[in-house]
Symmetry: C2
Subunit: 411 residues, 2 copies
């Protein structure tokens, strides 16, 4: 696809966009370009009604009968099965429950137990911090275990060669730079060294095709509130390769992971399969948001998502480069997720000034401006207009106004 | 209060009930007596609008700005502060997050670390099983640690005398029998033996006054979806006595428990105070249910709740005893929670037959029929009518019909 050089060309691309009709499925802020769907996805139009039904009918009227009548009991599994095709997994391999952090805790603990002769959890220093904090929490529970952080992936082989690495935890797409890692190649390298591979899919699930099965990934975690649009802090999901289901032992052994939860026996006996990762039940009101948005995802071709994502980011990166900005996100499509990071020493006030102009991106310390492109609802003209607004903010110097320097927003 | 002996006397008590006006705050199933609020609390009338506002305005319109503009960032703390008076705690001592099971995992792990010379977690065999399963999960992470289950509290002193008990975990009110334990006396006994005391408040929070501070309790967990009516599987809460805040170290070290979450530093450093128990952020849609129902609780006098609860259960127990049923729940008010358990070898079909008559209780294997009394919306005539329905079900033998013997419901 040729990169458009005028707004008119962008409009023509929008008119021909096979994903274009999906835009009306989402509630977009008026007079704004929302480029923060990699932080919090927007509200699907159909969600309020699904939530209302869950609250007023399933809870309000159905009460405890909804456990069966409304299928509540099966939701961690059925919703997981509906996420599975988005990450290249089969039914029975994905479970919806808890948060990314809690799920990672289960998986890293299980992984250390699966490699009893090894005590190192290997991560990357620039990974989203909660992953590193959880790794620290897990290694603190095992004698001699430690969490080692790579300054760069160039150090991976050297660490693996030491023979002590039990498990490697990496983000598929870096939350700051938008760098996309080669899941197949890295997973294979980690396996060759006898370690297990855990991928954090928070910034790739729903943003690009993922094939956990083909890449022989051991475990993965992901969130549902960014590209998947399930609602603020909606429950996470976890994946465990079926070859590990029999041997795995996770420590958050709660009622709903029991083989016979209604036998009320005092001893724990895990159920078979992915269900053993279930600790307690996710809040039903939060699951309603996921139920709603997955109806949209069932209509989506991820190859189209990826093609549009790359076109949008290429367009935006090109325009930003022309402004003389340092583009941190890789130009090579195979190394790029679905966001663009720009480095600017005054990134914080620049982003605030952009927000005042209706272009909503965010800032990550110390100097990165982040713009997420969510192909289900971001248009080519959005990308064009965002770059134009950035040009005007920088040309006018308006970001230097005092009001743009005040901190406090969680973005 | 004299126990009423006619339905007319019950109606008179309802007319004079200081909590009576609160009944209209709740959506009650039509033509039914709901006595399962100890499993899932009913929908408050005000909740759908609070949820709608959260979905459509805070998420849909506000998007990321709602982290500050709608106070999202502070909700685990502000909602915890609003629960605090219900359990006899002060602001800064209660946090809303995760589930009961996950919170218990944090607390039991922290407790074992606080008593490094001791390796036993002591529980009661009849406690709600998820508590025991979590204790098993935690002790599996510590060399030499074990979970010991008391057949009865009579064995408590003997176990404590062994000197190896690090922490005792008990349910304030037993989920099956409705037995209420003496929090002050037991906590003191446990402390005298050098152990820490953790109370599970799932069946007492919102059912009766609790004074964690006066009882010098170390830690507590509770749920919000039973007597508190926050919605199915709504997030849990945890309490940590302020004297432990400085020394405690819990293992689920996530982003939101960090001292500077937005510094994105790779090393974990817990924030001070109760916030260090926060791992990730609870789903905002689920928190909406809690926000709504706490508006009601702010109008409630727990002494009135307790007085009415005891009157309701006494009335129901008396009527059931007249039917020749074995009442398992203690007659002594100081040993009784807010539910009534009846033993019947055919309890399952009897409960199903009652449900068909519009009296919704539940069944716990092998032979207990459970009826929860929730004074904010259960009336004296409800209690009377429920006992009448039970009399008719037993007198007619209608519970013997084949359709009442089919299993499957989660109640």
């Amino acid at each position: 696809m040729t990169v458009p050089t005028t707004r008119e060309q962008c409009a023509a691309l929008d008119a021909a966009d096979p994903l274009g009709p999906l835009r009306k499925e989402f509630t977009l802020p008026a007079d704004a370009v929302y480029l923060d769907g990699n932080s919090l996805g927007v509200l699907p139009v159909r969600t309020p009604e699904v939530v209302r039904r869950t609250v007023e009918e399933e809870w309000g009227q159905g009460l405890i009968t909804s456990w069966n009548a409304a299928g509540w009991t099966e939701l961690p599994h059925t919703l997981g099965d509906r996420i599975a095709p988005l990450v290249g997994a089969a039914a029975g391999e994905v479970l919806v429950c808890d948060s990314v952090s809690v799920n990672l805790f289960k998986i890293l603990t299980a992984a250390l137990r699966m490699r009893p002769g090894r005590r190192t959890v290997l991560g990357e220093r620039d990974t989203f911090p909660t992953d590193l904090y959880i790794a620290e929490g897990v290694t603190g529970l095992f004698d001699g275990a430690r969490s080692v952080l790579l300054g760069s992936l160039d150090e991976l082989d050297e660490q693996l060669a030491g023979g002590d690495v039990a498990v490697v935890l990496l983000s598929h797409v870096d939350y700051r730079t938008g760098v996309l890692l080669d899941m197949a190649e890295i997973t294979e390298r980690v396996h060759r060294a006898g370690a297990l591979m855990v991928w954090d899919l928070c910034h790739s699930a729903g943003a690009l095709p993922i094939d956990l099965t083909a890449c022989q990934v051991d475990f993965a975690v992901g969130c549902t509130y960014k590209y998947l649009n399930a609602g603020p802090c909606a429950p996470g999901f976890l994946y465990a390769a079926p070859r590990h289901h029999a041997a795995v032992r996770q420590p958050l052994t709660g009622w709903f992971g029991h083989a016979e939860p209604f036998s009320f026996k005092p001893e724990y006996r895990p159920t078979e399969g992915i269900g053993q990762f279930l600790t307690s039940f996710p809040p039903l009101l939060a699951l309603a948001g996921l139920r709603a948005t997955l109806e949209i995802w069932e209509q989506v071709d991820l190859a189209q998502v990826r093609a549009k994502s790359l076109a949008l980011t290429e367009l935006f990166m090109g325009r930003c480069a022309q402004l003389g900005l340092e583009v941190v996100t890789p130009a090579e499509p195979e190394r790029r997720g679905s966001q663009v990071a720009l480095r600017h020493p005054d990134g914080f006030p620049v982003v605030q000034a952009l927000i005042e102009r209706g272009v909503i991106g965010d800032f990550r310390a110390p100097d990165l401006m982040r713009f997420g492109f969510t192909p289900l609802y971001t248009s080519y003209t959005d990308a064009w207009d965002a770059a134009e607004a950035l040009r005007e903010v920088l040309a006018s110097g308006e970001w230097q106004a005092e009001r743009f320097h005040r901190r406090g927003a969680v973005t």
